[in-house]
């Protein structure tokens, strides 16, 4: 019997397989399924390239990649309560202490877990930590997505309130109450109410009014993100 056959017999008797090629090929098979999923997915769903970075764009609301939502939201929510508790002086406890504590706890898992058993149900502390971790990520991720969406929805209103409401009104809110104003070119005009601007102007006309204001409206140098938010918002005011 050759050396090779000998080994094969021995492995069979023990119920094991050699890593190469038996196990490797199976593992590769599973892995290739994942790569195939990735490949097919990438044929149909493409990432979006936004407007080129513009540091002066005060209207842009950034979002992290999905797996960092919980980080941002944890610090947003945490920071909120921190300031309610008047702990702003101790910012670093929340912003530095908490992440250090979290990462250390993760590193220390094998040393926290002193149970002789390996079954999770027989390791109540570890089960508890797992549950806590999953709830933590789950909560702050969904909350983060929700908070971001709400911010995006409110964005056009807040831009309007800060940049336009001194002159224009929408449905009686905001606007120059005395009606008449002096334009940069020295004429007197009425900033029109924008309550029905969507039925007067097309989205393209609104966009061009914002990019190159005509007549009495001053050039506001609106950043691209603000224009992107305002155009559909105004176009919907019919």
């Amino acid at each position: 019997m050759s050396d090779h056959e000998h080994k094969a017999k021995e492995y069979q008797a023990k119920g094991v397989v050699p890593f190469w090629p038996e196990h490797f090929l199976k593992e590769l098979g599973v892995g290739l399924v994942a790569v195939a999923v990735l490949f097919v997915f990438s044929l149909f769903v493409h990432p979006i390239l936004g407007h080129v970075a513009d540091p002066a764009d005060w209207a842009y609301q950034p979002a992290p990649d999905w797996y960092f939502y919980w980080v941002q939201n944890f610090f947003d929510v945490g920071g909120h309560y921190w300031s309610i508790l008047h702990l702003v002086k101790f910012d670093w406890v929340l912003m530095f202490g908490a992440p250090i504590l979290g990462v250390s706890a993760l590193y220390m898992v094998p040393f926290i877990d002193r149970y002789p058993e390996r079954r999770l149900l027989k390791r109540p502390l570890m089960l508890g930590m797992l549950m806590f971790g999953m709830l933590f990520f789950g909560y702050f991720t969904t909350n983060g997505v929700y908070a971001h969406n709400r911010l995006i929805i409110r964005e056009p209103y807040s831009i309007f309130a800060t940049s336009c409401a001194t002159c224009h009104s929408i449905k009686g809110l905001g606007g120059n109450n005395r009606g008449v104003m002096k334009t940069p070119t020295g004429q007197w005009t009425y900033p029109p109410s924008l309550s029905h601007v969507g039925s007067i102007l097309s989205p393209a006309q609104i966009r061009s009014q914002l990019e190159n204001p005509q007549d009495g409206m001053p050039q506001l140098n609106l950043p691209p993100a603000a224009i992107k938010d305002l155009v559909p918002f105004l176009a919907h005011l019919k």
């Binding site: 994942a34 790569v35 769903v45 080129v52 842009y60 950034p62 079954r119």
Partner: protein
């Protein structure tokens, strides 16, 4: 012919024993998915590894077109997406690959945690593992800036601003990380270097350690 070439190399380098050690090491039945379907959970680490290799390959091709400066990084990405054959798909694979890796690493970690596979003698490998996780997240964070669109810019601004809370060295650290007083040209080249040189080097070293330890200690047994 094949045997003669192998023998020729072995006379000089003796690589066969190394190969045999890896190829022949017995894989127990409880991790073999064709013995027990539930053993697929043992594949998560290997799948992560394969995805990382795919990520290296797509990344290398992306680097052929990408230009890391604040004018051309956006334009070169746009060019790649719209004018290069399969450029769009390449970028997509790299983009979704990062998400898939995060998912697979998480599943792998859950498997280890669930089964208590980090218990003696595998504590050190858990520590290497957590470091791998941080490296993977570092890839995600630095890669996000590279297309230099608004999302990239402002998300990085938020992320980098956390460094200023580090006691004592915070403001200095913020400057080191962003290469100046704000996110700009220096940040981009820095993040590019970290994304394509520093982190891959670290990743390879730690993966080497990870696999060495697995080979040494064997896979953990059934309960």
């Amino acid at each position: 012919m094949y045997t003669r070439i192998v023998r020729w190399i072995d006379e000089r380098l003796m690589v066969s024993p190394l190969w045999r050690d890896m190829a022949d090491h017995p894989v127990p039945a409880h991790v073999n998915p064709s013995e027990r379907v539930s053993a697929f959970v043992y594949c998560f680490g290997g799948v992560t590894f394969l995805l990382i290799i795919a990520q290296f390959v797509t990344g290398m091709f992306l680097t052929m077109y990408y230009v890391p400066d604040i004018i051309n990084s956006y334009n070169s990405t746009k060019y790649l997406m719209h004018h290069v054959l399969f450029g769009q798909q390449l970028l997509s694979m790299h983009n979704w690959g990062s998400s898939l890796i995060i998912i697979m690493v998480t599943l792998h970690m859950l498997r280890i945690y669930w089964m208590g596979a980090y218990k003696k003698p595998r504590e050190l490998n858990w520590i290497v593992g957590v470091t791998l996780l941080l490296i993977v997240l570092g890839f995600g964070f630095t890669g996000y800036l590279l297309p230099w669109d608004e999302k990239a810019y402002f998300a990085t601004q938020v992320g980098v601003s956390f460094t200023k809370y580090v006691p004592f060295i915070g403001p200095a650290l913020l400057k080191v990380v962003s290469g100046g007083s704000k996110i700009g040209a220096a940040t981009l080249t820095r993040f590019f270097a970290i994304h394509v040189l520093f982190l891959p080097a670290l990743l390879i070293v730690l993966l080497g350690l990870h696999f060495l330890m697995i080979r040494r200690q064997g896979i953990s047994g059934p309960y």
